[in-house]
Symmetry: C2
Subunit: 231 residues, 2 copies
């Protein structure tokens, strides 16, 4: 019954599943065949109960008294997350950050690939990075529709972000990962996640200031940042 959620999983649970997945992959490479919720939680900075609960949202994958079989659990988590569907991705904006995203080997390793890249700068159009040819912006719609791309990475300047978003939505994109420091408006059927460096740095600035202000040593400042999946 691995496909039937009992109740719906919190977003944070999904994010933790990603971490479990990565850890399981590493364990498998090391030849580890079985693991307990206790051990897995130690490796991912979670708690044993949390690991069990997170998995329980989707089914029952372990054996009482024994633990989880690494390979089987990895496969289940992979299915849950939709890794391996091999969703092709488009990248918009091939500046410093965009280039870094193209080169990021974490994506292909997890089964995601940037198959198209776009930029508005004529000097970048036509260049080839990591086997991907940079195309001009006016080819977004036809390319995305032709290749049935549903996920896009948005690495354009803040000012251009909303306009590009609308083009992408019009082209049929269903998921957006935004790197621009702006609040994007998208229709309800489009899913949006954002990586906002300023927010992360300012959050650290806040906790730093707070811990300095409150005598620092006192009340063992928690080093965990739940939302940011510390670690």
């Amino acid at each position: 019954m691995s496909g039937s959620p009992r109740g719906k999983a919190p977003q944070m649970a999904i994010r933790r599943l990603s971490m479990y997945y990565r850890t399981l992959a590493a364990l498998r490479e090391q030849g580890v065949e079985s693991i307990s919720s206790e051990h897995l939680s130690a490796l991912t900075g979670s708690t044993a109960a949390q690991v069990r609960r997170d998995l329980a949202y989707f089914g029952s994958f372990g054996r009482r008294g024994v633990g989880y079989e690494v390979h089987s659990l990895q496969t289940h988590v992979q299915k849950i997350l939709g890794i391996g569907e091999g969703w092709p991705m488009a990248l918009i904006g091939v500046g410093n950050l965009g280039s870094a995203l193209l080169a990021y080997d974490g994506f292909p390793r997890q089964g995601f690939r940037i198959v198209e890249a776009f930029d508005s700068d004529p000097r970048r159009v036509g260049t080839v990075i990591r086997d991907v040819v940079v195309k001009p912006m006016d080819q977004i719609k036809e390319t995305i529709q032709a290749r049935h791309i549903v996920m896009a990475l948005l690495a354009v300047p803040a000012k251009a972000a909303q306009g590009v978003t609308e083009q992408l939505v019009a082209a049929g994109v269903r998921c957006l990962l935004n790197f621009a420091p702006v609040t994007l408006k998208v229709p309800p059927h489009v899913h949006l996640a954002s990586v906002d460096l300023s927010i992360e740095v300012e959050y650290l600035s806040y906790v730093l200031r707070e811990s300095v202000a409150e005598g620092q040593a006192a009340e063992g400042a928690c080093s965990d940042v739940p939302r940011a999946l510390s670690g």
Copy 2:
């Protein structure tokens, strides 16, 4: 009484304050002098009650019947977040991502500056990017201590991350923003936040899969990703 929190603010509240801050800065550039919680919430993808509550954790900055004075509120939020303390930052790892971080203009704009960069690759050591000279790894400790750097951005390969982290902690760093896809272990007095691209993409993959599976049109798929500060 702007400095006295009544109860402690949730992490998410802090992250939203970052968004309010950015929005207020933009409003000020546009010459807007006053704003209501209703309007501010619309601009940041929050709700009016949430805006008021988030601010109320730190004081009472508005005027009933009127709203908030943009400049004054921006100043207060800036103080709360510790922006303007001008914490100098160190960057470890000047690969694709590291270079992008050096070039990211969102940091200086918000008052954060990368003042030192390090890399283990001899070919990169000595190069200058954005006025920052790349130094070898063995100078981490002395440099960080000499310049009293408390925040570091970690853009090294996953395998090197834990080792470098320990060097940084030993050097006295208090805050780490980690970009490597690993679970870092840090002592309790060190604050840690992570940006993990695989987690973001896999989360989108999950919600996409979910929305496709559940008939997609049904029950207006929520496009908001609280943790990721959608938009």
